[in-house]
């Protein structure tokens, strides 16, 4: 186990290095740089900027140097734990991200928990009570969930929330708690808002995993080992959970990393629509402004999250299935 973790850490570091190179190249791909984007905005406002001013700015920000030098400066700073400086916010990237990182993690992992708890519970119910009314309802809801784009669902929820309950469902906090210190009331206010992005982000994944769970479990329920275990007199509920359900968890757990990456990549658009104080909206504007150090750091954070998700899923699989442990040992 320890051996495996060490190996995973090494491969993770290699992956991260490769991602950092690719990310840096992609960020630079759009024509122009941060200075051009900045000048464009300023001149639209009527300000006149000379070429000399622009050149000065490039030198100051280090944008005049060749690409590889910029990369090595960035990666060198990263090694020292310095994420660089955001041009747009005139603050260190770490500071800009810090505020929003915890909320992003909260939403991502709450969504993951929501997805899996609901999908497993409903999937088991659907399979055991195949073709019952409950199963049919779950099936219909599942298809709707799969077919509805997240941002559209977010807009609908916002509209309905406003119209029926007179409340704004955007954001994560009510106006009066924004910037307020943490308290029990603020926490409850957060929970009151949190469910909206969690439901929106988790909907498609829940529907997908529910279908997977149902289909796999239906297969497992008819397997010989289930009848064999039943012939030993094990009570039905224990039997269901210990034998077929645990077996059917495999494909669901195996896609956990994948599911987390879908949640993360869906988050920016949803975050924008619901005006969430998360990394998502920040990421989009950073890319538009060509704020290279900020967007680079964000891409790396997203990648780390996906890698962590895959790692968790591999670990869970090894706990669940002894065959995986054996394979790893040999």
């Amino acid at each position: 186990m320890l051996n495996l973790i060490m190996r995973r850490i090494v491969t993770t570091l290699v992956t991260l290095f490769l991602i950092s190179v690719v990310a840096f190249i992609i960020i630079q791909l759009p024509p122009g740089d941060y200075v051009d984007a900045w000048a464009g905005k300023k001149t639209q406002g009527g300000t006149i900027i000379t070429q000399a001013e622009l050149n000065n700015m490039r030198v100051r920000l280090g944008l005049d140097k060749p690409l590889y030098q910029q990369y090595f400066k960035w990666i060198g700073d990263l090694m020292k734990g310095n994420l660089g400086f955001s041009f747009e916010y005139h603050r260190p990237v770490a500071e800009v991200i810090g505020e929003r990182l915890s909320m992003t993690l909260l939403i991502a992992f709450s969504t993951l928990a929501f997805t899996y708890i609901l999908a497993i519970a409903l999937g088991v119910y659907s399979a055991v009570k195949q073709y019952s009314i409950g199963d049919n309802i779950a099936t219909v809801l599942g298809y709707i969930g799969l077919a509805t784009p997240g941002f559209l669902f977010a807009l609908i929820l916002m509209y309905l929330g406003q119209k029926w309950f007179g409340m704004s469902v955007g954001g994560l906090f009510s106006f009066k708690f924004q910037g307020a210190p943490w308290s029990w009331a603020k926490f409850r206010d957060l929970l009151g808002h949190l469910w909206v992005p969690v439901v929106v982000l988790g909907m498609a994944g829940t529907a997908f995993q529910l279908r997977t769970m149902r289909a796999t479990l239906l297969d497992e329920l008819n397997k010989m080992y289930v009848t064999s275990a039943r012939s030993g007199g094990i009570p039905e509920f224990n039997l269901l959970m210990r034998y077929p359900v645990r077996m059917a968890l495999n494909p669901i757990v195996a896609t956990l990393g994948w599911e987390l990456s879908k949640i993360i990549s869906g988050a920016p658009i949803i975050g924008l629509v619901l005006s969430l104080p998360t990394l998502g909206p920040l990421y989009i504007t950073a890319l538009l402004d060509q704020d290279i150090y900020l967007s680079g750091a964000l891409i790396l954070i997203y990648c780390i999250l996906v890698i962590i998700g895959t790692f968790i899923s591999d670990m869970l699989l090894m706990i669940l299935d002894p065959r995986m442990r054996m394979k790893e040992r040999s």
Partner: protein, 333 residues
């Protein structure tokens, strides 16, 4: 020793719920089993023998329903008679019988253990359900059982997973699980079919030893008359959901009466019988599908002794032609 009836199956009928219609699978099966005896249930694939076996523990799939008949089980040592067909198939009463009084061995040793738990866990689980002993004691008992069924290094094998065992070892472990709570009846559904011949002989020997040691009654199901002949005190031959001949093993082999039994025996190769050297005789035709069951005797379309007007009218009753030997055929009475 006086005869003690352990199990009595009366007019058992099982149907398959197919598209809201009931298709008969088992068509009225009757047999008795005495304590300590071995009954062989023989028939071709899909003749209803496995369904009959599963119904004895109410393990039938949802689509299969017992539509008629009784399965009476005598619980000895001060117990009572239970009609298994009356029990809730997911209820508490049948669970007490499963694994405790009646246990079962399945055809596919490869798939009858869950790959996610150790062999030891899966045997111990049954012991803990049916007796009030501590985990530690149950573990010792499991190791003892594994030892008894001939698994080498039982203490380590306890912690092995099914995929680390060969087919023969898994079937041994299955037997250990089945006898773990000293059941009075063991149902073995083609326990050696999936094993190769040398292993098959070992498993049969093991089952015989266990039967002698514990006095367990066995219902031994197979399509292989040769295998059943070695094991059983009494044989029942099934064809299309009906028992068509039943009698003591020797009697069935020496003096088969039903045309199907005769044909079945002719289809087995025999060594040493040089004067009767002959080609193996296949049975003409094939088993009709479930949806075109012949009228009257179900064997009538493949039978050499077909009597028009008689065999097509109704199914013949089982008649006792000599002591304990029953045949369902119009040729006899």
């Amino acid at each position: 020793m006086e005869k003690k009836i352990l199990l009595q199956v009366k007019n058992l009928q099982i149907s398959w719920l197919f598209d809201k219609a009931l298709i008969p699978i088992v068509y009225g099966v009757d047999f008795n089993l005495e304590s300590g005896k071995v009954l062989g249930l023989v028939g071709e694939s899909a003749c209803g023998k496995s369904v009959t076996a599963l119904s004895l523990l109410r393990l039938l799939a949802k689509e299969l329903k017992i539509v008629n008949g009784e399965i009476l089980f005598w619980e000895h040592n001060g117990g009572e008679t239970i009609d298994i067909t009356k029990l809730e198939s997911r209820g508490k009463d049948i669970r007490k019988i499963r694994g405790g009084l009646v246990s079962m061995i399945f055809q596919e040793p490869m798939s009858s253990f869950s790959p996610l738990y150790t062999i030891g866990y899966q045997i111990m689980e049954v012991i803990l359900l049916h007796s009030e002993i501590s985990k530690k004691e149950a573990q010792e008992r499991t190791i003892e059982l594994l030892n008894k069924v001939g698994i080498a290094d039982a203490r380590n094998s306890f912690k092995s997973y099914p995929f680390e065992f060969s087919g023969g070892m898994r079937q041994r472990a299955m037997i250990a699980k089945a006898i773990s709570c000293n059941p009075s009846l063991l149902i073995a559904d083609e326990p050696t079919t999936a094993l190769d011949v040398t292993i098959q002989a070992q498993i049969l020997n093991l089952m015989r030893d266990m039967q002698h040691e514990f006095g367990t009654s066995i219902i031994f199901i197979s399509h292989d008359l040769g295998v059943v002949g070695q094991m059983a005190d009494e044989i029942a031959i099934m064809y299309m959901g009906k028992i068509i001949e039943r009698g003591p093993t020797k009697e069935i082999f020496k003096n088969p009466n039903h045309p199907y039994t005769i044909k079945l025996l002719d289809a087995i190769p025999r060594l040493g019988n040089l004067e009767a050297r002959r080609r193996l005789e296949p049975i003409r035709g094939s088993v009709p599908g479930l949806f075109n069951r012949p009228h009257g005797c179900t064997f009538n379309d493949r039978c050499d002794y077909f009597m028009s007007g008689i065999c097509g009218a109704s199914f013949p009753e089982l008649k006792e032609i000599s002591e304990n030997h029953f045949v369902a055929c119009y040729l006899y009475g």
